[in-house]
Symmetry: D2
Subunit: 420 residues, 4 copies
């Protein structure tokens, strides 16, 4: 079996959600170091305070201990304590030249993986070992592609500098900003990002992508007063009645006539016991739109709904932005590079300028920063067959896409690095 | 400091919720055994399958390990594994006579205890060690009264048999039924149960109580389909929209013109992440009424709401009864015994036949079983000053009530045991 | 057929809702005048500005024209224009003495009457002529009793003054206050009020009643912005989303542990057309409680819900009190009079001090004003068989109650008037 | 003042909603007859049973009487009784040739017109005479354009047949289908439809349009049980709690990732009085989508929500389709005709192939039928300045668009009629 497939299956078994990629990231460090890359990680690779939506200490601890149990290198791990799980690998070529970056995301999702027998990872014995978590968005494949690509470049037979960014917490738009704020792409001339799947069929590839949504991720909390639900219901202030009303009203926000919009209350938790009036509730909410200003309006309306659903029942409340994504555009020059190189690879038989992104992308922060500094960026979509939508418990990819994608990245890298 | 107070403060620091009373119950076993009681516990003291609302294996494990860490006797603990936390202590007097039982409940609540400096347990350094859990319903005091009472009876200077029932999981009406089903009160002639507080002022006591509510406790679960909330919102089936609608409709059930009713959705949890359409949600729900048949109607209506809130969004669903309580009445004979004995104790200066119960009581199962067998029962309310309602994070009792209550139980026991 | 029955059936056919009792009230005027009563009506019988919940001009007009069509006396009608539909009849006895008042309510309800063949009024051809309106609360019977009673007293063979108050708009607690404010009971020494039915069986009567609920009636309005729901949904401000949220949250207000409470959104109307974002909505809401202060708290909470459900969607709003009822108590002296006189009438075989009222009563304003002036009052409940609850489309009474009730009122009146 | 402007202002003052266009339609008949058109109207111009969302008899009556009062020709009116308000005018040219149709819609909306002084119709004294109704979608202008165009064609100086379709009830997609089913366009070779405004600026015109939404219009009714809200709330079945839940759940239906969607509950009415548990409620609901199949899914989901919101509270229910619209496409040949003719008119300085429609169009039925028979159709958008969105109470048009639009229609007609 190809190494990139073996690697992907290993990562698939140990899915780690945003900022808990301890096992994954320490493995990335080990491999990159073994290949001769200069590797930056831990507090040097991201600005800890710029992270958003960091898990609780308890969640970080549990994941940390799990990574140790699963054989992660404890010396490396120590530098990542508290969720500092970004890894930046730099390899200088034999001659001077431009700095070309590639981005790979490593985090999994809190989705329980299906146990259906026809689910490929189940049938082939690499289903998730961590119940409740799953690589349901192909980041396991992205990371393994990144590592195999690193190996193919290890001979340094190029000019300039290759920079590989393995970022944490792409889901929820929480990790890239902290990498950007640490200055990790400030020296980058061009950046290539990509995603597998997204309804693009196997064999198809687009050099760029469009339709990415600006997004805001919010944590809202309601504070009420508990009381015995049998003996004194009138003395409580019910946080869940407020939260449930907020949920329905948020979903009832009007559609927009000229822009795509999205709203989602992805999580609602409140109350403690059957016989206690619920005194606390929290919601995780996101808004999205093809227009940044329409997204900002939605964010405002959500905040207003939280505010008034709380006050109508005398509840305290708090709303905090814990993630975001912005819109971005792809540079034609880079799109053309992708197209021309893809044409040299047999597996890609349908090559386009653009496909539709559909969600939001944390890479937006990386690409926009590179462009602000006068550089260029693009975001490719690489097709593969998926038996179920992204984020679904039966999601999977066709592994046939892995080898050609590594080949493509290598072709792009070599061409760009030697282009001066 | 009086021993009963010391004991209460110790128990207060280690609050254990229903079926996880590992440290508490093992302590009860040790003390009763040391006093010469014959002690039944673990699978012999309750019918495991008749328990309702048993915590998850993970929750049981965490609590079990915590109890070990806090010094619980591991030999005793082993018998309680999986949440078999009832303890029955029997002491035969020097001469034959009737069997008289007393009931004490041991479980705490999932309420976070306040850190306010004027909260007595905080000011006196016995605030909960287990963040998120609290003795907010005086069961710590009930258990310590039971143990101090046991000590006062240890000389066996009475006729007949004294039976002390330390039951788990009174909250939610989940434990007593399993004790009853194991036959633990089948030989009992009279049973005395009691509660501190419940808005009865310090110095007041009632020999009986009225107004207890029949209740049903339900766990409802919704099963949807996850999907990427940005890329394919229409492919998800949103379990939280169904659950939030159910919550509001349950609370909107009509009041009743001639009976007291209650409804409470005490907990709602659903969804996993910001950017995933929530595919799962669960609710803990209770209904109550002064009438068993009105409570049964409410239970039916709640089930109907769950059913249709699920189907309206194409969700799967399940509703399970995880606890209940029935109505019961107190026997006049026993009420009079309480009144006459209370009159002999200076601390009780306001002595009544009845006070209002206000909630539901798991003791209903014990009392009703004793009465079905031709025996008698009552449920006393013993007043004490409470700075905040039951189940509130600032709940507390005035410890002055503890010593007189032990004295009262002893007077009742001696009189009843020697009454033949 | 007894005249009182004929009269009741006539009134039943022409049900007129609060402040539109044009035909009914003009008939009352005619009959009382023909019997020699001094009759006050129109603007002299009530304070127009103190009325609450007055129908729209259009509704008043429609009802007025309908009354003319149905043969009402237009000279009398003219004085009642705009809904001035109270009638006060005074008859001085042959000798001086106290002033004794009786209250009768005349208004019907906006309930469509059933067409089932076994519905007594349908089977006997006196079903409502006004589709959508119905005497579903026995006020047709109350008024006919009042008129038959007037006839029996017309010989003036008594001391003192008999005062008959035929009030409009009892439903919703909207009419009595305006009669009180006009001073209509300022000279009254004792007032007797009554209701038929209310779950009291035929043959039973109580001299007084308890459990009447304090109540507040509210009209809330939401003001949004219309927009084309297809072409620009985001430009509208949706008044119905706010109103529907308010409705569910009002019904979700917590029950009370020691007082009876009620909440009802009796009417919700909003929006104009399928393809327009609804820019307006109104709600009619009531709160009730056995405690005036708990009712006041509910009123506050309802207002808060309206406020925040509006602001959460950027809507304007307004809430106005359009009716109310207060708690009151019955005087023992009068209860005893009723009981002693009822004993003399064969039809009453079960005679009690009190029965439970269950709703709210506009008579509370009349009784409380008489008592404030040093007088006395009571509110009797007179049993009759009802095939369906009050306010239900199949409501009816057993007419056998009518004649004995008239006889009872006469006995009470004669005794009280001659009591000095 | 130009006649077309005078006519528009007259129609603007007498806005008549769908199937009550009595005054408007009878005026159209009179004018067309006076110009020599053969005019079909009443039961001959539409299939009465194929109409959807017909107003109640009472509403039809009120509107009919109003039209008489406002001077409508009663002979013509009589043929339109019951809402048969379509008018088809046919004019044969001097020589044989093709049949070319133009469509004009006549109905107004239930929107109250603003009284702001800067509202042009208010400032110029032609604000709506019918409070609550308004021409807020430019159909007054469409009809006046149609009539002025008829006058310009009255000399019959063309080959073939000109067919003018003045349709009722375009709003809600309720009228065109009944005209189609009567066969009114079965002989048509080409059909031209148009709309003013829709965010197209003055001076701009498009020969075709895109983005029209398939739509379904639904009337849902809930049947509960009334009861006295104070005395027996538990005996009622509350239709409004079901309806409010349905409203929030309908608005909470998920957005779609690849198609435009809309949902709107345009009207909700339920309950009768403050103190009665609401026993009835009705909703007017619409769904829309750029995809007919996605619209069909939304329709299914709405029906499911209604079904289960009813059953969850034991309510009866009914859902009925009362209108619809389908997707359609415009023929390039006709688009080109429009463009070439528009170029000859100075007022149109920005001429496009397509603009975005944004709503749904009843004309879809007319165009699709013509195309099914082998003919061709298009739907032009003619820009004009609008101070507020369509369906808003401050909507208006810039009348400068009227004369050039008439000129354009004439140019198109002459060219097409003489094209053989």
């Amino acid at each position: 079996m190809e190494e990139v497939i073996q690697l992907r299956r290993d990562l698939h078994q140990y899915p780690e959600v945003g900022f808990t990629e301890f096992r994954t990231a320490s493995k990335v460090v080990e491999i990159l170091q073994s290949l001769g890359f200069e590797v930056i990680y831990g507090k040097d690779a991201l600005d800890a305070d710029s992270r958003r939506g960091v898990p609780t200490e308890e969640e970080l601890d549990t994941a940390y201990r799990r990574a140790i149990k699963d054989g992660a290198n404890t010396d490396i791990l120590k530098e990542m304590e508290g969720g500092l799980t970004a890894v930046i690998g730099t390899l200088k070529g034999s001659k001077p030249g431009p700095t070309i970056a590639f981005r790979f995301d490593m985090d999994a999702l809190p989705v329980p993986e299906t146990s259906e027998h026809n689910h490929f990872p189940k049938a082939n014995d690499f289903r998730s070992e961590y119940e409740g978590n799953m690589h349901a968005c192909a980041h396991d494949a992205h990371t393994s592609i990144g590592l195999d690509f690193a190996k193919k470049m290890a001979d340094r037979d190029f000019s300039g500098t290759l920079k590989l960014i393995f970022q944490p917490a792409e889901e929820g738009g929480r990790g890239a900003y902290s990498v950007v704020e640490k200055g990790m792409v400030d020296d980058v001339d061009k950046i290539y990002c990509f995603h597998l799947g997204l309804d693009v069929p196997l064999g198809e590839i687009s050099g760029g992508s469009q339709g990415w949504l600006a997004t805001t991720k919010l944590l809202s909390q309601f504070y009420g007063v508990p009381s015995h639900s049998g003996a004194s219901p009138e003395k409580g202030k019910n946080a869940l009645v407020g939260a449930a009303s907020a949920l329905l009203n948020i979903h009832s926000l009007p559609r927009h006539s000229s822009e795509q919009t999205r709203v989602n209350v992805g999580l609602l938790e409140g109350g403690t016991a059957l016989n206690i009036v619920p005194h606390y509730a929290k919601l995780l909410i996101e808004t999205r739109s093809t227009s940044s200003s329409v997204n900002a309006e939605l964010e405002d309306r959500v905040k207003k709904i939280i505010h008034h659903c709380a006050e109508m029942h005398g509840l305290g409340f708090e709303t905090e932005v814990i993630g975001s994504g912005v819109t971005f555009s792809c540079d034609e020059e880079l799109i053309n590079v992708v197209k021309e190189e893809a044409e040299q690879i047999e597996a890609f038989h349908n090559i386009k300028d653009y496909n539709k992104g559909g969600g939001s992308e944390d890479a937006s922060f990386l690409i926009n920063r590179v462009k602000e500094n006068g550089g260029k960026g693009t975001y490719m979509l690489v097709g593969t067959t998926i038996p179920a939508p992204h984020h679904n418990q039966a999601f999977d990819i066709d592994e046939k896409v892995l080898v050609p994608t590594v080949a493509l990245l290598k072709r792009i890298a070599i061409r760009e690095l030697n282009s001066n």
